[in-house]
Symmetry: C2
Subunit: 330 residues, 2 copies
């Protein structure tokens, strides 16, 4: 159904109030999930807010830096709400980077957030190369294999340009796990060659699917494995089958300050030139070359101008329930 | 032909002597290219030594750190021979990491080296997460496009385990450029869907191929683009079409010391556990799961035990020419 953004926002704010989200965190939480929705990433927008809000009440405190030495820091988020934790972590990464040229922050024991890109973009807007990643339960495997042993391991990065930051946001599986969960609910088919069954054969049947497939063959595997290490053993966090809940899932936030290499003004200028080169890339179909992040941004502009969101009835029902204090109904 | 390793080594040493490689660098240079050969990476072994040795005489000095602040350092290699430059850069990265928890070193104006993995592995043996990458001339493009605008952008990383380090080494194109050059010489066909012509259509004709294809669709593109930025604008080095020679090609060496997060002994232990998990991964064909880097290591063991190398006649001829002081013949 077609609903005013303001109305959706009001319901989300009310749901936060009902689940005792601290007043000072409400905007941060609501804006985060609304941004996912207006970017057109529906699995990470209002629907995810409705899902994650069941855990809001489980927060035990505010994120706390348990170790900080040189460029590294480790944050115990004390089950804080995801966007609040992430906001805390990127600020520490930025502080370290301002002081030493880089900040590498590992965080654990946090609730989840929606999209990754706002945190990378936060760092890019401060002039840094920002990189954000996390792991998940071992839901993924690689071509030729059947046992899931890697997390979905998404990564986002962003750099300043002379205009909007250049932003990339991707999972390292061919298809996000949300597609599987949604297909199981609706008995829909899965996308081709994205999930495998117990024997390691590709399946489009959501009830036979056991593992999500990592993108890009053995090279994609190598990328996912690096993310696994950088969100795991680097900070002493669990990996693979050791990640058995939200609370043991590792997150990593990296800021690198190019001004330490002398690139104070040239970093955005040179990135802008790279974007210009990409704008001039010839394509097979003579359509403009697709610059990462631009489609999401255009979607936000369009939706914001309209002031309206298209939301599935079921999601709207769930959101109204949350605003009424029901955090369990599906 | 089948030749004693010692004989090949002696010819390589003689070629170094003939091209005025400083005596203290000869072993480093020769061992590097011999390792590529014994790992079975023939395009990066003796053949590459024969090619690169034509530039050995162009060195203008030893690598020189032109800027160092916090974790970042920039090295002007003064056209030093590739393996010597890389050895210098990893040592600086390690020094920074020991002091601050990370070292991020950009290097430019260097001759090339062969395989990347020894430098990542050097850092892993010192207890770090080691990451090494570089760009190249803009030879690569992405699916749906035709203009080359990305470098081949290889990356290698390594971490300590309780046994041998876990090592990954890959290019971000489906096929290395060496395959194209070799196919042009021998009029062989290219591998399928790895190169595109002027129109952006896949071609197997080496004379029609204009760009190498980046692996993994738009996700592989995102990885290559990140490497482009981290070997380019991050240090004010050229990118894309700005990379027009060996001397303007950017290299990046990263060391992260997990002991700054408290993971002094646990880092290798936890990585070893990850390897164990991978050893237990079920495969479709019930063959053992392939752990990255193991095949290369097995190849080295086999070849070293035999004491013999299988080298194409043409490469052997070229090597003999180099040892006789001829650095131009093909």
């Amino acid at each position: 159904m077609n609903v005013d953004i303001d109305h959706v926002r009001a319901l989300m704010v009310e749901a936060c109030r009902r689940s005792a989200v601290p007043a000072e965190s409400v905007d941060l939480v609501v804006d985060h999930y609304l941004l996912g929705e207006t970017q057109g990433k529906y699995s990470h927008g209002v629907a995810k807010f409705c899902f994650e809000s069941q855990f809001f009440g489980e927060r035990q405190g505010s994120p706390r830096t348990v170790r900080e030495r040189g460029v590294l820091a480790i944050v115990d988020a004390q089950r804080e709400i995801g966007p609040v934790s992430a906001d805390h972590a990127v600020r520490i990464a930025a502080d370290r980077a301002r002081e030493l040229g880089a900040g590498i922050v590992g965080m654990i024991n946090t609730q989840r957030y929606g999209i990754l890109s706002p945190w990378a973009e936060h760092l890019a807007r401060a002039g840094f190369l920002g990189i954000v990643m996390n792991t998940s339960r071992a839901d993924s495997t690689v071509e030729g294999a059947r046992t899931p042993f890697l997390g979905v391991n998404p990564i986002s990065y962003a750099v300043p340009t002379t205009g909007e930051p250049l932003v990339v946001d991707m999972s390292t599986t061919k298809s996000p796990m949300g597609v599987l969960w949604e297909a199981r609910r609706g008995a829909a088919q899965l996308p081709a060659e994205s999930f495998v069954d117990l024997d390691g054969d590709f399946t489009v049947d959501p009830h036979l699917a056991e593992s999500a497939m990592v993108f890009g063959g053995h090279k994609g595997f190598a990328v996912s494995l690096l993310i696994q290490i950088m969100t795991g053993s680097l900070f002493g966090f669990p990996m693979g089958p050791g990640v058995e809940s939200t609370w043991t899932t590792g997150y990593t936030f990296i800021a690198i300050d190019p001004s330490f290499g002398g690139e104070l003004d040239d970093f955005p200028n040179n990135n802008a030139r790279l974007v210009e080169v990409m704008e001039g890339v010839g394509t097979r179909d003579s359509q403009p070359f697709r610059i990462p992040g631009r489609r999401s941004r255009a979607h936000v502009r369009k939706v914001t101008a309209l002031g309206k969101l298209d939301i599935p009835d079921s999601v709207y029902r769930r959101l109204r329930a949350r605003a009424a204090g029901d955090f369990v109904s599906d």
